[in-house]
């Protein structure tokens, strides 16, 4: 645990000084989104990496958080912080209720059910034009405010969002090392065996699902107040798949891996600017190649490959 804490402190330090290197560059803005995506990837990783339950509809929770917060502040003049809290708790409760029937399903069926949920929510965003503005979007969402400080610049938003992201990461690392984390990994390996050992697998899965949705909704709310504009296309099926890709690339169950996956997939389109729409091809290829050749993700996969290469070299001598 001490080593974990040290690792985390180094990470915090890096996050804190990163803006010095990025000052004035548009990359600072990209790093704000890396923060949001890291939060989302960590949230999904709790479900996918620890408990082994897939969700292809996580963009829906992100979107619900964003829209609840956006509509309450833009159309009903709520305080943004109150809206954030209501969005997060509301979405968490929704996921808790939804979790009981959904998480009874396994494997492909679970994937399809969460996917179906995601698409229904996406259609609702598009069709309830009176509330969400429909496909043309929702405008006029205020920035968050702390005392007299309005979070209206990239630098301020960077620190605000990364504060939330770091707290999420710390909590997740803690969770992984707790009794709950061990129980979740047991469910991942064999749900029946976990239940035999006295783990209330069903409740535990639902709780993690709700926690994951709660964090996603917080990220959604932060996204709404940073962007001040929302449109349904940010919360479609493609983004759900992108989130899963982040988790897989980084490695299932690895918190820093989720950061790595989020950073890579957020930066990738920036470097592929010339190819614009075609980054989707790269995503597809990445998913296939990672599953085939590095199923443990980058964080664990690279040391594995290095170790294998070393052993091979030694064998030859």
């Amino acid at each position: 645990m001490k080593r974990e804490l040290l690792k985390f402190l180094i990470f915090v330090l890096l996050v804190a000084v990163a803006p010095l290197a990025l000052k004035g560059s548009y990359l600072l803005n990209v790093f704000v989104f890396i923060g949001i995506n890291t939060m989302l990837a960590v949230a999904l990783n709790l479900l996918l990496g620890f408990a082994g339950q897939i969700s292809l509809g996580h963009a829906a929770f992100f979107g619900l958080g964003a829209y609840v917060s956006g509509v309450l502040t833009a159309s009903h003049a709520w305080n943004p912080w109150a809206a954030l809290a209501v969005a997060a708790v509301g979405v968490g409760l929704l996921a808790f209720a939804l979790g009981f029937p959904v998480l009874k399903l396994k494997g492909h069926y679970l994937a399809m059910a969460t996917l179906g949920f995601g698409i229904i929510v996406y259609i609702v965003f598009n069709e309830t034009v009176d509330v969400t503005g429909g496909p043309s979007g929702l405008t006029g969402i205020p920035n968050l405010k702390l005392g007299s400080m309005l979070f209206d610049s990239d630098l301020k938003n960077y620190y605000l969002i990364w504060a939330f992201t770091l707290v999420t990461m710390l909590l997740s690392i803690n969770l992984a090392h707790s009794r709950i984390g061990r129980a979740l990994r047991a469910i991942h390996d064999s749900e029946v065996a976990a239940r035999v050992m006295g783990v209330n697998a069903r409740l535990m899965k639902v709780q993690v699902f709700a926690l994951s949705a709660f964090i996603s909704a917080v990220a959604g709310s932060l996204y709404a107040h940073t962007m001040t504009f929302l449109s349904p296309t940010s919360f479609g099926f493609n983004f759900s798949v992108e989130l899963v890709t982040m988790v897989i690339i980084g490695g299932l169950g690895s918190i820093y891996g989720s950061f790595l996956g989020a950073a890579l997939l957020t930066l990738l389109p920036e470097f592929l600017r010339a190819f614009q729409d075609y980054d989707i091809i790269v995503f597809g290829l990445l998913l296939i190649l990672m599953t085939l050749f590095m199923p443990d993700g980058l964080v664990r996969g690279i040391p594995n490959i290095v170790g294998m290469a070393r052993r091979r070299l030694k064998g030859r001598e």
Binding site: L48, G107, I120, E127, V241, Y278, I281, F283, I288, T291
Partner: protein
């Protein structure tokens, strides 16, 4: 009388899209039964069918029947490639890996289609040019008749293949127990390849016969594929009449819902049905419950 005419119209168009869902659902069920994989890329075969036909028709200037055959053959090549390069190397992976690799394949195929053919929507010409036919006040296009006829034909051919040919029986044996099948001398790997060939042919066929009615573009596969999956789920993942009924039921409910309630929520209706069935009867309306083995 007006309401009756409208209902009849919804009924006819519902049955026609329902046939398409059934065909796509068959593709899901065939691969699932042979391999235990839900092929998330199934919808892309539907897209490929339409887009390849268009390509052979307009660029290669083939006559329509030849273009259609060439399109089905091309989709089957893609299906075989998918099996060979993504599914076979993954042997022994868990559910998650399989879900993710077929999703990756679906994104990749869609992306490449967009790269080659662009983002425009295109229409395929109808198979036969003639006026709409009037039935009890409702109109039906000759293309709808093609859909009903070809779907019925494929279903019968499917039934004959799986019940009366050696290859079909061997594939069914694989779906019951792969180890036992290989013990009696069935080449399981070849049967898996077969299942991908058959279901890519069926998927592309579905995409071709619906393209004259609904247009086609690089991204039609997502929705059609998911709805085909709904049909297969309602039918209990069988490649028999359950899936046909599931597809028709889905088509009807969707068409009636879009016509009588709201057309904006048309796609949502299919997914609400999917969720309800998964929650209440995950074995499908017509399937038997599975016992989990540990």
């Amino acid at each position: 009388m007006e309401l009756f005419r409208q209902l009849l119209q919804y009924l006819l168009s519902g049955l026609s899209t329902g046939s398409i869902y059934a065909l796509i659902g068959f593709g899901f069920a065939i691969i699932y039964n042979a391999t235990g994989i839900i092929n998330f890329a199934q919808g892309e075969f539907v897209m490929l069918g339409g887009m390849f036909s268009l390509f052979y028709l307009t660029v290669a200037k083939l006559p329509l029947p030849l273009a259609i055959m060439a399109a089905i053959a091309s989709s089957m090549v893609v299906g075989a490639a998918l099996e060979r390069f993504a599914i076979r190397p993954l042997k022994g992976a868990n559910h998650l890996g399989m879900v993710i690799i077929t999703i990756g394949a679906s994104i990749l195929i869609r992306g490449i289609a967009m790269l080659i053919w662009g983002k425009d929507t295109h229409a395929l010409p109808a198979f036969t040019e003639s006026d709409p036919i009037l039935i009890g006040g409702a109109t039906i296009l000759p293309q709808n008749l093609w859909i009903f006829g070809l779907t019925a034909l494929i279903i019968v051919a499917n039934k004959v293949f799986f019940n009366y040919t050696i290859s079909g029986k061997a594939m069914r044996a694989c779906s019951f127990n792969r180890t036992a099948a290989s013990l009696v001398g069935i080449d399981v790997r070849r049967m898996v390849l077969f299942s991908f060939l058959i279901s890519s042919a069926m998927g592309s066929m579905a995409g071709i016969i619906i393209a004259p009615l609904t247009m086609t573009s690089y991204d039609v596969g997502v929705m059609l594929g998911l709805k085909g999956f709904c049909a297969a789920i309602i039918g209990g993942m069988s490649s028999g009449f359950g899936t046909v009924l599931g597809g028709l039921l889905l088509g009807l409910v969707e068409s009636l819902g879009a016509g009588l309630v709201s057309s904006g929520y048309k796609d949502a209706i299919a997914f609400i049905i999917l969720l309800l069935i998964l929650f209440i009867r995950p074995q499908g309306l017509f399937g038997k419950a599975d016992v989990e083995r540990v």
